[in-house]
């Protein structure tokens, strides 16, 4: 079974801090994604990557950046966290037509 692991389940940070959210998949998938999940807004795509060192902006990339140095790892970076980035962050990798999701990181920015 495919495993997508997000390093933290809960994270509390202060406004202005730099935040790293890590995601690792073990199935050699090329495509990886970062979404944020908010009530009433569904899943919104932040960034995705279709290969090592390749990245594409999603629908809401502002305030975020990503890093894909190795195929199995896709990191989401908040350069200077703000309160409106408080959210559930979901990482996913794609195998064929199917997305495999991590368990999510609930980030609170105070």
């Amino acid at each position: 079974d495919v495993k997508v692991t997000q390093s933290s389940r809960y994270l509390v940070k202060r406004t202005g801090e730099k935040v790293f959210l890590e995601c690792v998949q073990d199935m050699d998938h090329e495509n990886m994604f970062w979404y944020r999940q908010d009530p009433g807004l569904g899943l919104r795509l932040i960034y995705f990557s279709y290969d090592v060192k390749m990245k594409e902006k999603g629908d809401i990339p502002e305030g975020y950046s990503v890093s894909r140095e190795k195929k199995e790892r896709f990191s989401l970076i908040l350069e200077s966290a703000s309160t409106n980035q408080t959210s559930m962050y979901l990482c996913a990798s794609r195998g064929g037509e199917k997305l495999f999701f991590g368990s999510g990181t609930q980030l609170s920015v105070l």
Partner: protein, 110 residues
């Protein structure tokens, strides 16, 4: 621009009654459509995809290109169907981007 619309935020249905979760899309090409489900305290997971034309847990969905719809149906609701349901669309291009609707919470009443 590509878009996935789920018009209902919440749908309450009595156990044993039929269920229909609506999904409409706008896309200029030939899309791949999916339904993902998130049960309480579980990861988001694929329920079904239009290309496989399968029935999972009694749910079916037919792609209607004329109406640009992909509604999810089940003839007899069960309590364990209570969950958050997301319709998703895959863009067939180099980027392999997948976008989601805002989701519908299905609540099965006893």
């Amino acid at each position: 621009a590509q878009r996935v619309t789920q018009p209902e935020k919440l749908l309450s249905v009595f156990k044993g009654a039929p269920v229909e979760l609506k999904c409409n899309y706008s896309y200029s090409g030939s899309p791949e459509l999916f339904w993902y489900v998130q049960y309480s305290r579980q990861r988001l997971q694929l329920l079904l995809r239009h290309i496989s034309r399968e029935s999972i847990k009694g749910f079916t969905a037919d792609l209607n290109k004329g109406e640009t719809s992909f509604h999810l149906k089940k003839p007899f609701a069960q309590e364990e169907d209570s969950a958050m349901y997301y319709c998703a669309l895959s863009e067939r291009n180099r980027d392999d981007k997948i976008i989601f609707g805002k989701g519908t919470r299905l609540h099965i009443l006893p």
